[in-house]
């Protein structure tokens, strides 16, 4: 590649000295990725850093801008009940959503991996919700959940259960949000499916020769072999849970009585309803730090439960360590 390139460059600009040509040649790859780099700097990194700057300001859209140092962060922690409220709602949502999301996606992936007839159709069907835009998805769910005319309550009424008004009931609206969010797990399911396909068949064969049943095989072969995929999906799930906004905005508006008032929504309202750009930026950076910390913790813990094929050597080491502990105890 490089050889070909140098030739063309030489043909095009024969008058260049060798040194210049080399320097010029070094820049060309950057030229090719320049559009992306430009976009990244201007539309991602720039705003990112700028948001850090404005988080130290009292920054209304209309009116005077003041530098207030850590004032936004201070008032966030000390005297904004809504901050803690919304943070709590998001934690609750994440605690319900993340495990369920992984279980459902993994369950579907395993079912699809059985190789039953028509599995391609099922795969498409399960993935389909991920293709639908969040707004359309919210519309569909608002019909499903409608208290009087919703299809969910209709089915419940057939079995003799009077369903609640899901989106207007403080007890049920968060659960309703979790279920609606689970619907978009398609891409996660595909990642699991790819992971499952990557597990060598001979492992199962030898396990069955050793007398392991299906459940034993699942926990002793599938789960360990899939653990890197689980780690990846766990982290993306956590991030998705913390960023959940579209559904809350469109389905419940954060209500009833702030039962689904997610942190992202709190942030959004501070910025675009109350025009407190600085305060909202501070909110955003706090969320960034929380997600960062959680990701870090998950990575740390992964040493204990994630198993990479290339790391065979570490297992015996660990065993001897724990063995030592047992001895000393």
């Amino acid at each position: 590649m490089a050889q070909t390139y140098r030739q063309t460059a030489g043909n095009n600009a024969a008058s260049f000295t060798l040194g210049r040509r080399r320097r010029w040649g070094g820049a060309v790859p950057y030229l090719f990725i320049f559009p992306w780099i430009f976009g990244f700097l201007v539309f991602t990194l720039g705003p990112l850093l700028f948001s850090l700057v404005i988080s130290f300001f009292d920054w209304p859209i209309v009116g005077q801008v003041h530098f207030i140092g850590l004032g936004n962060y201070a008032s966030m922690f000390t005297d904004d009940p809504l901050f803690w409220k919304s943070f709590g709602v998001t934690l609750k949502f994440a605690a319900l959503f993340v495990p369920l999301n992984i279980v459902v996606a993994l369950g579907l992936a395993i079912l699809l991996n059985q190789g039953t007839r028509g599995s391609a159709i099922f795969r498409t069907a399960f993935y389909l919700p991920s293709v639908i835009s969040g707004v359309a998805l919210a519309m569909i769910w608002s019909w499903v959940y409608s208290g009087d005319y919703g299809i969910l309550n209709y089915f419940l009424s057939i079995i003799g259960v009077q369903g609640p008004d899901w989106l207007n009931d403080t007890k049920w609206s968060l659960v309703a949000m979790v279920v609606a969010s689970l619907w978009g797990q398609g891409s996660m399911m595909l990642v699991f499916l790819a992971g499952l396909k990557g597990i060598p068949k001979d492992l199962y064969e030898s396990a069955s020769i050793d007398g392991a049943g299906a459940i034993r095989q699942f926990f002793s072969v599938t789960i360990p072999m899939l653990s890197p995929t689980i780690l990846f999906n766990l982290i993306t799930s956590i991030i998705a849970a913390f960023q959940q906004l579209t559904l809350a905005l469109l389905l419940t508006g954060g209500g009833p009585m702030k039962a689904t008032y997610f942190y992202a929504m709190y942030m959004y309202e501070n910025a675009f309803k109350y025009y407190k750009m600085g305060y909202s930026a501070a909110n955003a950076w706090f969320m960034f730090l929380i997600v960062l910390a959680l990701t870090f913790l998950v990575f740390k813990s992964s040493e204990a439960w994630v198993f990479y094929e290339g790391e065979m050597k570490r297992k015996p080491q660990k065993k001897s360590k724990s063995g030592g502990k047992v001895k000393s105890a």
Binding site: G63, W143, L167, G255, P256, M257, K273
Partner: protein
Amino acid sequence: MKKKSTFILLTTVMAMSALTACSGNNEGANGNVGQPSGGNRSAETKTLRFATWDTGDALKIEQDIAKKFEAAHPGTKVQVEAYADGFDQKMAAGFGATNPPDVMYMWDFPTYHRSLEPLNSYADGDQELNKDDFYSGLFNYATIDGNLYGIPAGFTTRVVYYNKKLFDAANVPYPKDGWTWDDFRNAAKKLTDPSKKQYGFGVRAENDTYDLQGFVWSNGGSYISADGKTIDGFMNSKETADAIQLFGDMLKDGSAVLTGGKGQQSGEDIFKGGKIAMWESGIWPLESFKQAGIDVGTVEMPAFQGKPVKGVVAESALSIAKDSKQKELAWEFIKYYVSNEAIKMRVADLPVRVSVVNELKKDQDPLYKPYYTMLERSDNTPAFLLNAKWNEINRQLSAAVEAVVHGSKAQDALNQAVKDSERYLK
């Protein structure tokens, strides 16, 4: 459907603004070359941007008014920018980028007045405007620190709508001005029939605290002290709490139904369906009630025993942006917009001029009379004009009201709201 038409409209507006930008460039280019050709009128056209939050029929009327203004002022183009639900965001963004529309609908003067042109010098002594012809008091809502920032364009007070057919069927006499909340609640109970999913009254799941002020004032309460500095003892006073508790109680005893929550029908729609007998609102739904074939009556708000009824005015005004480059033209447009001719075109608004009301005999019409009776009863100052941080306080108050319609005790919820709001009053 509404969203779709809004989308089409926004796209059109976008395309239009792109096109005008082009013609603007042409103007400059032509100017350098020499005289523009005689037929090319667009080179001299001045474009006035007018922002509105209205959609549908009201928007169509506004576009017609703009066309009439264009006809009377050759060389002028009025670009009606319909921001609909995104109005506040578009405004804030426009002001922030110092590129706001020249003329705009406005109600939230405490938030925006710093970006608006004071209109005192325009309005005072302008014979054409004839300030004295406006209902007195309407200007107060657009005045901050003695500066007038908007000319009243439309207003509404709030009345009780009732479905005559349902009243007849239940053998309940029609309500009359001067009725009390006890009358109201008794009627609501008689008009409720759970087996038909029919209710006496509808309570909004999401209330605008602004609209509830009429009830609170009628019971002798208020959200905030007259000097705008204290809420403790006002927002959580017994009078305020009792007024708001009323809605919670009616929901509890089943004579009212919660409407307009997420995935629920709006109260207006249920009223149109003949399933709620009484509904409380401004002028906005009247036309649609008539179109739905409801034999609708209006009556002024009920009184709390022995206390005078108070009303709250929802007013819309027209303002000029401080950053506008054609304030004279903008002022001409506003004057036309509030002229007798234009007021008569705007049938969705209550006329702001006494002369128009007298001419059309609006205050004689039994359907319209209660709005004007309520206007006479609207002399309290709304809370948002009294405290610059009302937006923040209101966030807590709204949460409290929401808690009440979901079954909390009003007194507790309001105490909490006061506690959570105190930091904004320091």
